[in-house]
């Protein structure tokens, strides 16, 4: 059936175009994560403003990808397997948009944090966490392009480390705040940022889940592995 063959390859070409936009979006979001963390550590308001402004490009890419995916479905009427791929693209672009939003929010808090006494160590802890998440994202997108389930599984496992880093920071923030009330406002903002980085990790994990679903047809059973234990933490003994 040469005609079917023709239709299939047109689908593949269109899909590749959409995937190229996903990769571009991924690249922008990776930069946003790293730059937001760097702006925090170096108290660099200019860089923070750049991060905030660049988020618009991420949002526009999401809309573009959604339109392209919808057109692809409408024009090519893909069969079940191909359809699953297109739907995965939509999920992934949604996750990337959320991660970009978190990076933007992180950059936003910079302008209030620069007015405050620095909380020793916290900005570099957050930067390390952000770097771990950025590497996870790089690998999750790599796993998507290569349809590599093992790499996707690896990303899922590493999200546990990010959660541990967040838990340690939560505990430390409580201690700092109890030691000196002047730390309270700063710690509230930094906790907020740390939690957002932890959430970015969850969204990266969700991308890895999509890769596994795409290849195996099954969403990993422990849907999102959760290691945020702060909901069970009564905190250090109170003063």
């Amino acid at each position: 059936m040469p005609n079917d063959k023709h239709i299939a390859s047109v689908f593949d070409r269109d899909l590749e175009a959409v995937q190229a936009h996903i990769m571009k979006m991924g690249g922008l979001v990776e930069s946003a994560i790293l730059d937001a963390a760097r702006s925090l550590e170096q108290r660099d308001e200019e860089l923070a403003t750049t991060v905030r402004n660049r988020d618009l490009a991420v949002d526009e890419l999401e809309l573009l990808i959604n339109e392209e995916a919808a057109k692809l479905i409408a024009l090519r009427s893909p069969a079940a397997g191909d359809l699953r791929t297109v739907l995965t693209v939509l999920k992934i672009s949604g996750n990337l948009e959320r991660i970009g939003d978190y990076a933007k929010n992180m950059a936003k808090r910079n302008s209030v944090l620069v007015q405050m006494n620095p909380i020793e160590g916290a900005p570099s802890d957050i930067r390390r966490m952000a770097q771990a998440v950025e590497l996870m994202l790089k690998d999750a997108l790599d796993a998507y392009i290569k349809r590599d389930v093992d790499l996707a599984q690896d990303v899922r496992v590493r999200d546990g480390d990010v959660d541990q880093m967040y838990n340690a920071m939560f505990r430390q923030f409580l201690t700092y705040m109890m030691e000196d009330p002047r730390n309270i406002t700063g710690c509230m903002h930094l906790h907020f940022i740390a939690k957002n980085v932890e959430r970015m990790g969850d969204h990266v994990t969700s991308i890895a889940d999509q890769v596994i679903y795409l290849v195996t047809g099954e969403i990993p059973t422990d849907a999102r592995p959760k290691h945020d234990r702060t909901s069970l933490m009564a905190g250090p003994k109170e003063a």
Copy 2:
């Protein structure tokens, strides 16, 4: 073209079945929001456990809706307008799943909060916020079913009130923590919960946005109206 007519009505029937599942999911999530807030206010651990356990049904409905939507696309090859409707269904079920997750997380923190000194007023403030969000969700889903743009716009505006409530709580938490370090851990958990309720509101707003997009073909330009101003708050004068 009687055949086209026939295909169209089969599509409509299938779509109605998917929409019925969206409504069911919406109902479960609405209960989860209210019950999670009530369990917090009444320090009712049993109710909190119920909320946590019921989230599984929400997650299962999301998977079911995704499968149904994919099948609908594959079998009925809907035209552009119908396709947009199906893609909207996917977005909405994704939003509902996230809101359900936030309610579950809220219920999780109950078990640590019951061990602590109550923070006067905060649980009932959170309950009021949660009620506002639940009503927004009810209206957003109503707007979806009726394709009612005005009602969807109204939901978007009300999200601003929820953001204001959150901002006021943030300020109050800072004050409580500075007044007495014994309030710090409790306030950190309550702030976390308040922020999650505010985020639920954002997801409801995103459902309202989808309704507007579905009817008008355009996403509202101020994509998500944001009134969380805490990123700019230096907090009360520090001790």
